[in-house]
Amino acid sequence: MTKARIVVTLKNGVLDPQGKAIQGALGHLGFEGVGEVRQGKVFDIELAGEDPAEAERRLADMCDKLLANTVIENYSITVE
């Protein structure tokens, strides 16, 4: 069994109105010095097999086909 974490984030230049709203809310709570906030997604995935390179290859395929919309999002994969 291999465990992996995938982080999906919006590409630079893609407007993130949710991140902006969160940034505003942090300001309302009194947190000072908060710069730009970008919201993303995290997927923790368990995969059969022990080969990390093979796991990474399959996870990248999953990201390209479903987990990320590569028109607007980037992804990073960390295999434990």
Binding site: L15, P17, Q18, A21, L66, L67, N69, V71
Partner: protein, 226 residues
Amino acid sequence: MNTTVVLLPGLNRDRDMIAALKTITGKAPATVWQTETALPKSDLVVIPGGFSFGDYLRAGAIAARSPVMRAVAEAAAKGVPVLGVCNGFQILCEAGLLPGALMRNTTLRFVCREVKLEVVNARTRFSSGYANGQVIRCPVAHHDGNYFADETTLQQLIDGDQIVFRYAEATNPNGAINDIAGIVNAAGNVLGMMPHPENLIEPEHGGTDGRAIFESALGMAGRIAA
């Protein structure tokens, strides 16, 4: 005139679409459930609006990978006209049948109101019942209608005359880039649009501005007085 409506769990505008198609063609559309792998012979395939699969992951993302969408892609490749409205537009983008993506409205609010649409290109098979530059009314109801495409894609859309509808008269309800409300694919047989033309086809709706989209797609434009 055979029309087909794709059904997915979580859609909620399917009944409106079925009623509209029946009114326009005089014949109830066929319906296909998301698990089906073939479409009946169709002059027009429509993916209606709603919130398929609860908008999980991204609006339209799960639906775009459902078995029926492979059949829709095959039909589109053969030149069958395919129309996606609202969630249907999101699904077509997620399925790669249309370029770009639909993101959360910049206001972060769900919008449900009437907008004005400029017919930017009346030479597509979905808009031939209108005139270039004509402004029509159309309702919108969505949370994720903010169309985005990178610069290269946007330039391709402009150069290829693929932008069919733009929000006009400062009514852009979602922050969509270049006020884009509806686009066709390069082949011109797949149209995606956020507004709901199926809700303006009978005088009882308060107007018939949306009717020509269906009549154009079905080759009926001009036969019925606009």
